[in-house]
């Protein structure tokens, strides 16, 4: 049996929805356990007081990268069937900027706003409402924004192609960067009084 299981036809659309549900529940559970539903904790990221988001997300990147690499090497995964999202430089830079401003203002991103709602935080509901309104607004303004939306396409880019490095060296480089980043993040947190603990906006007293 080789992955991706859906692409190889091991299961159909119905089963893939069930798998997506299980993966989503696990993802939400781990985000909540990691404190990602706490807006204070997330906003503290931008002041270098609590770098949990950075650590959680970079850990996920390294875990997925090592998993993909070794599963491929062991013949359990076919990498050419994995979807690599294409890059549009200017719209993605602008989108990232808007996303970042929204993140620091609301203290939550789309995924963590759902996590916050599930643990009873009303600010999560406000962020989700704003996000849905933004999607509606974008849809209505799409005829005007269409030129920008599809500007500067550069196709699918991967780090080994951009850095002109072998895949194997890129894996080591990214992992070393992550570990160095974690060490630096913990030093920064200690220098600013330590990470944000369970705060008054935590409904049941802790996450």
């Amino acid at each position: 049996m080789r992955a991706p299981l859906y692409e190889w036809g091991f299961f159909g659309d119905g089963a893939s929805l069930l798998v997506a549900l299980a993966v989503g529940v696990a993802f939400g559970w781990f985000l909540e356990r990691g404190g990602m539903g706490n807006a204070r904790k997330l906003a503290a990221q931008f002041y270098f007081r609590d770098l949990t988001v950075f650590k959680v997300l970079f850990t996920a990147v390294v875990t997925a990268m090592l998993g993909v690499f070794w599963l491929t090497r062991l013949g359990l995964l076919e990498p050419s069937l994995l979807y690599v999202p294409p890059t549009w430089v200017v719209p993605q830079l602008l989108g990232g900027l808007v996303f970042g401003v929204g993140f620091v203002m609301g203290g939550l991103c789309p995924g963590t706003s759902c996590v916050a709602i599930s643990s009873g935080r009303r600010d999560g509901l406000a962020v989700l409402g704003g996000m849905l309104f933004g999607i509606l607004l974008f849809g209505e303004a799409f005829p005007v924004l269409e030129g920008l939306y599809s500007a500067t396409p550069v196709g699918t880019l991967t780090l080994p192609e951009v850095l002109r490095l072998p895949y194997e060296a890129t894996v080591l480089l990214v992992t070393a960067m992550a570990v160095a980043g974690f060490v630096l993040a913990e030093r920064l947190e200690r220098g600013r009084g330590g990470p944000v603990g369970p705060g008054p906006d935590t409904p049941q007293g802790g996450t």
Binding site: T59, R73, G75, E78, L172
Partner: protein
């Protein structure tokens, strides 16, 4: 040792082993890498035209035809000499240098996925039937071609002979008629099935 340090150590160990595991595209079991495969797909070199395939079958040239649609659709209608195989069964196809493997679908994209898999599994000569079943119906079973000049008549006769060999119904006319009334694959297949050719 804290869990964080243990995880960092495990990650660095796996990454170091990755760096020492040899060069080349990660895990490519054989054949070209993603860049070469994408270029081959984009250039159209991976496609075979329905009429070219029809000639190959008629002339008994060695070609392995693989239908990647559902088995129910395959039972209802399939191209002559085709065998039915799902994507997971691609690994069972043995390499054979004598002729190409041609894969086709009904426009769902499965044929391109099968092409990618077969190329990555090391098969050198793999092609996708342009247009899939609908391409076969339009170009081979229900061709519409002009025949007002001698040159056009000669081409029509050649295609019509091929079409009739497979039980098709060639028509003389303007190919633009097709745009006004696109062929319905289901109707064409039903009609041909009733004639007892498949």
């Amino acid at each position: 040792m804290s869990p964080g340090r243990a995880l960092a150590g495990a990650g660095l160990t796996l990454a170091t082993l990755a760096a020492l595991s040899g060069t080349g595209p990660a895990g490519a079991p054989g054949g070209d890498g993603p860049v070469e495969l994408t270029a081959a797909l984009a250039s159209g070199a991976a496609l075979v035209q329905p009429l070219e395939l029809a000639r190959m079958i008629r002339e008994r040239r060695p070609v392995r035809l693989v239908d990647v649609r559902d088995s129910s659709e395959f039972i209802r209608f399939s191209l002559p000499t085709a065998r039915n195989a799902s994507l997971r069964e691609m690994g069972a196809l043995q390499p054979d240098e004598s002729g190409p493997i041609v894969v086709y679908d009904d426009g769902s994209g499965s044929a391109v996925r099968a092409w990618l898999l077969l190329r990555r599994l090391g098969h050198e000569d793999v092609r996708v039937l342009r247009g899939g079943v609908l391409g076969w119906v339009e170009d081979v079973l229900s061709p519409i071609l002009p025949a007002s000049t001698a040159e056009e008549r000669s081409r029509f006769d050649s295609v019509a002979g091929l079409s009739r060999y497979f039980g098709g119904l060639p028509k003389i006319g303007d190919p633009a008629m097709r745009e006004a009334a696109p062929v319905r694959a289901e109707a064409a297949i039903t009609l041909i099935s009733r004639r007892g050719c498949y």
